[in-house]
Amino acid sequence: MPAPMLKRTTLWVLCVAGTLVAVATAGIRMVVGGERDLLLVGHTTAAHRQIEMACETCHAAPAFASSAVAAEALNETCRNCHEDELLAAADSHPRKLFRAPRMAIYRQQLDVMQCTTCHLEHRPEITRAGGVTVAPDFCAACHSHGDQDIRAARASHAGLTFDTCASAGCHNYHDNRALYEDFLTTHGDAPWLAPKPVHGLSALRREARQELVSASHSAVAPVAPPAALVGPIVDEWAGSAHAASEVNCAACHAPAMASAEASLAALEAQWIDAPDTTACTDCHDDEAATFARGRHGMRQHPAIAKPRDPLQGLDAIGLGSVVPDAVATWIADAPLPTHMTVAETRLPMRTEAASEVLDCGTCHRPHAVDVERAAVAACASCHDDAHSRAYLASAHYTLWQAEIAGEAAPGSGVSCATCHMAKARRRGAVVASHNQNEILRPSTKMIRPVCLDCHGLRFAIDALADTELVASNFQGKPDVQVESITWAMQRLSAAH
């Protein structure tokens, strides 16, 4: 063969071989195992950032499934994690509503039976608050014609455009617990600030804690190997709710100990210098469960996909019996780190916090178990957006400082956790939900459980609709006036 032809043939062979190797490598990563970061078509929302590379959490259909099967599986995974939330929100547009034959005409406009119709992932360009990817005036799909034509049904809505339905502070698609008409007319007249502005559940929580710590924290002594009883940690523990509750060192550092009466030698044998988060979650199961549903601990949610079984993937492409186990192990997925680092987030964060790992100790300092630090300082040490930065200059923070200094009533201060971590009574105690989503998006979710304890409904709705006021962390009063309460009351008056 002449030299030029040989050279050309060699180049062709190299190109074809390189192409085949590249496609095969990518194909194996897609179907069998291995890193897939480079294959992403777009970033996920910040909310799903933690599980972005646990692809099978959402893409649950088997490889090569039809698009209909894949779409159904995808939507089912949405419901796996978010259905309880929708139930709690008394979803205004539940799927069951649209199963009725008369709704078929509306489903043709917008297939609301599928979550992905409005919440597409990997599309950062069109993703709005709440992970919404459909046009802001999507309500027009159903409410601009037929018996659902809201502009014909309500005189007050006659001149409105559909892009204002959700953006003006009047409506949400799913959660309207603080926005429905009866609620507006019942609470619409409340003054902007309550005579005694106190967040009730926060007050109960602080009182219970104060009572616990002041009553008995000095009664117990730390039990630990002498080498471990050094530095400020002993004092931190002594002033903590753990000490007050007689939760001694062994409870976290030697959980295998049968009882506190065990010998020091046995304690030393079982001692773990740096216990993992199971030391916390074994007791704080409510907090652990909600933490795993929230933005900080999502990777621990039981529905998050485990690393793929490479043998299963190899079987799917007919190579199960050909590829040796050692190779299968080599190409397997690396498990997701249990906890995310601050550097991985897509929200504005302080650069100095980049290496922080989001586990219990990051916010609570394990020996002090300091809920006050966890309620403000821990948040402010990482979050660096305008709203977070402005908090330290806000009236809410001033009230919080007064409360923790003992100069103001329990519950009168407003910390980050007051608004973003819902409180609830469980088993006779007030616990803080570690799932921020419960009262985060849309922001009107926090009106009933948080805002209304201190503020009137009209003020709360106006304040949350004023984006500049939200960014400044409510320094001042709202410039925005949402008309929904006025219109609801006018309609009520007209009906009577």
């Binding site: 043939t9 192409t19 590249a22 496609v23 990518a26 480079l38 294959l39 078509v41 069109i126 005036d137």
Partner: protein
């Protein structure tokens, strides 16, 4: 005695059977001019100020020449020599060449061989079986240029035609033509051609030069402009801000093409299809000079048009979105290949200007290699992109 057309075709094939790198425009015009010169020397045609006229309709016995003669004789209204050159370049040059090649194969001067290169379509090439015929023509030309003797009038006409069509430079060693320029000009001015054909040959030669310049300039202008459009479109795709997806609910063409799965799939397959067809046209462009002349130009323009079509399809598919990760790599490859391809076209179209700067052929060769190199990762990236889309 071989005809001008036969001598011309023979001269453009080297002793290994490879075609000399003669510009297609030059060859096409030279073939048309050669055919008319043959007819003029055979006393079949003549020219005057107004038209090229047939003096004798008797066939010459040469298939190619007789077809041209028949065509000229059949024309009701006589046309100018320029018009005939233009028409023969466009419509008959390939046929003349094919006939001449067939004659040369038939009389054993050339041998026809077909072969298949790896991964490429079958190609035809010719082996020079009787190298003596070519050497004889070449020797006559070299003698005419080297000595001060007055050559045969047909040799003068042949040299004039070869020089007019810029074929002579491909036959002589590099730099030789500059050294012999004075002699060439002297030969072209000699009035030794028979009185009866002198006017016709001179007219044909003059017309061939004009036609060649016009054709070449027209084609190169088109090539330059088309490539420029492609290059600007590629640059725009790279630099222009993405076209936003409309924020209004309801029928909208942009929302449809960038959000609807069916449209996305359709436009994606169009991009892939255009890429494949462009690749085929490039392969045809590569193999065409050995078989067809006029087709070369067609395939080159088609290749550029396909590149522009690919950019339009890419816009429909992406709306100037460059993507992320492996998908951004795919887009980068596409755009790099298109941009470099456009630059190859611009450097081909603007070759004369570049040659004056002394960078023409080398720049084009570098750009062409880069254009091809940018295409190498494309099949893998395209396959991965499609796998990702269909598996997830």
């Amino acid at each position: 005695m071989p005809t001008f057309a036969e001598q011309l075709v023979l001269l453009t094939i080297d002793e290994d059977g490879a075609f000399l790198p003669v510009r297609e425009d030059s060859l096409v015009c030279a073939l048309a001019g050669a055919a008319l010169m043959d007819l003029a020397f055979a006393g079949r045609i003549d020219t005057d100020l107004q038209a090229l006229v047939v003096m004798d309709r008797t066939p010459t016995g040469d298939q190619a020449l007789d077809r041209v003669l028949e065509k000229i004789a059949a024309r009701e209204h006589p046309a100018q020599t320029r018009a005939w050159i233009r028409e023969l370049c466009v419509e008959d040059a390939d046929g003349i060449r094919d006939d001449v090649l067939a004659d040369l194969v038939k009389d054993g001067t050339l041998g026809l061989r077909r072969r298949r290169m790896p991964w490429q379509p079958r190609t035809s090439s010719y082996a020079l079986l009787d190298a003596g015929s070519r050497r004889d023509v070449l020797r006559r030309i070299e003698d005419a240029l080297r000595t001060d003797e007055i050559p045969d009038s047909r040799d003068i006409a042949l040299i004039s035609l070869l020089d007019a069509c810029d074929v002579l430079s491909a036959l002589l060693p590099a730099g030789a033509i500059e050294g012999r320029r004075a002699r060439i000009d002297q030969l072209r001015k000699l009035e030794l051609i028979g009185r009866e054909v002198a006017g016709a040959v001179a007219d044909i030669e003059r017309t061939v030069i004009l036609a060649l310049r016009a054709r070449s300039a027209r084609y190169r202008r088109l090539l330059f402009r088309l490539s420029g459009v492609g290059g600007l479109a590629a640059a725009a795709t790279l630099l222009a801000p993405r076209v936003p997806i409309p924020e209004r609910f309801g029928p909208d063409i942009f929302a449809l093409i960038w959000q609807d799965d069916g449209w996305q799939q359709g436009s994606g397959f169009v991009v892939a299809g255009v890429s494949i067809v462009a690749l085929i046209s490039a392969l045809l462009l590569k193999i065409t000079p050995a078989a067809r002349l006029r087709a070369t130009r067609w395939w080159r323009l088609s290749h550029i048009a396909l590149g522009i079509g690919g950019l339009v399809a890419l816009f429909v598919h992406t709306g100037f979105r460059l993507g992320v990760n492996v998908h951004a790599a795919l887009m980068s490859c596409f755009l790099a290949a298109l941009l470099l391809g456009a630059l190859v076209g611009v450097s081909t179209g603007g070759a004369q200007g570049l040659r004056k700067m002394g960078i023409g052929p080398r720049l084009r060769a570098y750009l062409l290699r880069l254009h091809i190199a940018a295409l190498v990762p494309l099949p893998a990236l395209l396959a991965i992109h499609m796998l990702v889309v269909y598996l997830y």
